[in-house]
Each structure stands twice: as structure tokens, then as C-alpha cells.
Symmetry: C2
Subunit: 82 residues, 2 copies
């Protein structure tokens, strides 16, 4: 069966996020007050052909660690979409 997966990749706490910092600096000039702590991340959506949900998540997790994220600075969480 095909399982739709989402992998959410975020920077670990303490790792600098220059893109988020730049967005945060731009906000007051655009009229967005009261927005703080901007952190960016990446998502990967794909279908995994597997026997059951647990195996699909396992494949997605291995893929996330090996190819989709840098485990030194990023945290990857794989879950079923929806």
C-alpha cells in the first residue's frame, strides 16, 4: 500500500537561522508588529510503498536522516500526512 508521508526538518535549538532573522528584521517596516521568534524549516512530502504504516514511517525516517537532513544541525520528524 502507498502511504503519504511528510518529513518536517527544523534547525536544532541554538543553531543560527539567518533567514528567519532577516524576515524578523523586515517585519516592522511592513506593519507586522508582535511577530517574534521566526524560525525556518523544510518539508518533504512523498509516497512510500510499504506493507503497513509503521514500515512506511521507518523508511521515511531512514531517508530523512540519510538524505533529507543534516542530523548535526537539523532535526527530522517523519509522520503520516493528514
Amino acid at each position: 500500500m502507498n502511504y503519504p508521508i511528510v518529513v518536517d526538518v527544523t534547525l536544532r535549538a541554538g543553531i543560527a537561522d539567518p533567514e528567519g532573522a532577516t524576515i524578523e528584521r523586515a517585519l516592522p517596516a511592513l506593519g507586522f508588529d508582535g511577530v517574534a521568534h521566526v524560525r525556518t524549516g523544510k518539508t518533504f512530502r512523498f509516497d512510500v510503498e510499504a506493507l503497513d504504516e509503521a514500515s512506511a514511517i521507518e523508511v521515511a525516517h531512514a531517508l530523512a536522516e540519510r538524505l533529507l537532513s543534516n542530523p548535526v544541525i537539523e532535526r527530522a520528524v517523519a509522520r503520516l500526512e493528514g
Copy 2:
């Protein structure tokens, strides 16, 4: 009150995703068979100071459309984190 928001930015259907295509091409050589339809996206997490949840989502949605995404090729969804 401070509301933790996630904005999920994905490419609209039909828009080419070269990063996803490259990942997909690399998968068989890495031993990941049965993974297909890889699509990439971006997330933005931030706190919004607002009177209630609905106002916070509204601010996040405006921000997502104006600054965090390109509405021509991308779709942005703002939701409360968690």
C-alpha cells in the same frame, strides 16, 4: 497573548519541483525503492502577539501571503502549532 504559528508553504500543483525531482532520482542508488512523488516545501514558525486565536491566524496569513510565499506558484497555509 502569544500564539505559536506554523506557516506551511508548498508548490502549487503543476509547478515544477527540481529539488524534489533530484531527490527522487537519487533514491534507487541509496536503496530506497518504493518512494515516489517527492515534493519539497518550506515552513516558517513564529509567535504572534494577538487578542485571540483567530486574529493571530489572520496576521499569520497576511504575513504568509505578503512576505513568506509567492502566491503565483506557492500555496501558504497558516495554523496554530501543535
